[in-house]
């Protein structure tokens, strides 16, 4: 198994942590992992993305241009990375804010109203966790428990009281996939 993913969105949406959680979980499962951020000069704001690779084999290039999965949290990310999904691959995107949804037909496209759902969970910050849940439902490459372990590693200790909320968000994401793809 090798899963090559790019996660993209605004700075502050938590795209970097999403990739890190996947990679931490991968480490727990003794897989090879690689996390590569795109880093920019701005202190605040701007767009951000990261490439996460989880594999049973040794990973060669940590930098890729084609992905098994693209996760897009805003419109510019959809525009930029739709074409980067490998044929037959997966594109998950945040759909409550997207105005121009992706159009490819040779890939699986999963819209998730994560922003709206996050508001319902009364914490817009967990939007990313909802999407991550959706991804994990679509591609159960990692055990849910290990993902929670990964979450624990990425969240600084002082925020560990938020783990239950994040778990809830992850699970909500998983449900949503079933709803949309049902």
């Amino acid at each position: 198994m090798t899963e090559e993913i790019i996660i993209s969105g605004f700075g502050g949406q938590g795209v970097l942590s999403m990739g890190q959680i996947l990679c931490y979980s991968g480490v727990v499962e003794e897989k090879d992992v690689s996390w590569m951020p795109s880093y920019g000069p701005e202190m605040r704001g701007g767009t951000a993305n990261c490439i996460a690779i989880i594999s049973d084999q040794k990973i060669s290039s940590p930098i890729l241009t084609k992905f098994d999965t693209v996760i897009a949290l805003n419109q510019p990310s959809i525009d930029k990375f739709e074409s980067a999904v490998k044929p037959g691959g997966l594109l998950i995107y945040e759909s409550s804010t997207a105005l121009n949804p992706p159009t490819r037909t040779d890939i699986e496209i999963v819209p998730i109203e994560a922003a709206n759902e996050a508001t319902k969970l009364e914490n817009p910050k967990v939007m990313n966790m909802i999407i991550l849940g959706a991804f994990l439902k679509k591609k159960p490459i990692l055990k849910f428990d290990n993902v929670l372990a990964g979450l624990g590693k990425v969240l600084p200790e002082r925020y560990h009281h938020l783990i239950p909320l994040n778990e809830k968000a992850l699970r909500r994401g998983m449900e949503l996939v079933e709803e949309v793809t049902a």
Partner: protein
């Protein structure tokens, strides 16, 4: 621009023009100076760099010296200053802005030359250049933005970081036993005979903004009269790396920075000199 946004905006402009407006040119009492370009600045919300830039532009406009002014930008958050000021400008290597300014001024003595530098740039890596440029009394203006931190690189300790202040490289607060006391470089510079004018200002409230503006104006005017070096320190904020809102950061600055870096003139021309 997406559709949703356009709709929102239209609403806003409608609001604005809803009632009889006095917003006509005749009534205009303040707008940004011409020398400040329209390019949106890359600074974080509430960062003092923006005000400082504007004041320099205002001074240039007021003295009508846009065609004759050459600026030197440092390496630091203000590295892109040349994107905002509509004058010829040179970027300089980290710490060397005053040497670059010296180079320019010596070959173009009739032009107005200023450097704009952060505290890391001017008081750490650039200490030697700063001190010697001031000591030579180069006929230039140095604008020194002291925000007590390395802004651009993500909040490391600067020479001016206060005792006990946290930064990414003093995670437990600046320990003066290890890192020494915060450096009052302006106090040192004021003593050099080559320095004609030396003052410390801030841009945290309207009154201070006006004073800061006056200081910069002074600097250019003394330069015109070939008086030597003018040094204007602007005590400023870095909300992002201080990890505060802009409003909090100004408050923190007033409470903590001003006592260590007191505002006011450090060296002013004697009367007959002026």
């Amino acid at each position: 621009m997406n559709e949703k946004r356009m709709i929102e905006e239209e609403k806003h402009y409608e609001e604005v023009i809803a009632e009889e407006s006095i917003c006509i040119n005749d009534n205009l009492v303040y707008e940004k100076p011409d020398t400040l370009l329209d390019t949106p600045m890359h600074y974080c919300p509430g960062c003092g760099h923006g005000v400082a830039h504007r004041l320099i532009a205002e001074a240039i406009d007021e003295l009508d010296i846009q065609e004759d002014t050459i600026g030197v930008a440092p390496v630091g958050c203000s590295v892109f200053a040349y994107n905002y000021l509509n004058i010829d400008m040179s970027e300089a290597a980290h710490g060397r802005a005053s040497a670059v300014a010296t180079g320019i001024k010596r070959v173009l003595p009739e032009k107005y030359v200023f450097s704009y530098q952060g505290d890391g740039d001017l008081a750490a890596i650039g200490t030697g250049e700063t001190l010697h440029t001031c000591n030579r009394g180069e006929n230039i203006l140095i604008v020194f933005i002291n925000n007590g931190i390395y802004g651009m690189t993500g909040g490391q300790m600067a020479p001016t970081t206060l005792e006990g202040m946290k930064s990414t490289t003093t995670p437990f607060g600046r320990d003066v036993k290890i890192m020494g006391n915060p450096l009052k470089i302006t106090e040192l510079i004021a003593q050099l005979p080559g320095v004609y004018y030396c003052t410390r200002v801030a841009v945290n409230n309207p009154k201070n903004v006006r004073r800061a503006k006056k200081a910069i104006l002074n600097g250019f005017q003394y330069q015109k009269r070939e008086k030597g070096l003018s040094f204007v320190e602007i005590v400023s904020n870095c909300p992002s790396n201080w990890k505060m809102t802009p409003v909090e950061s100004n408050k923190w600055m007033e409470e903590n920075m001003f006592s260590f870096y007191p505002l006011g003139d450090l060296k002013v021309p004697e009367k007959e000199d002026e």
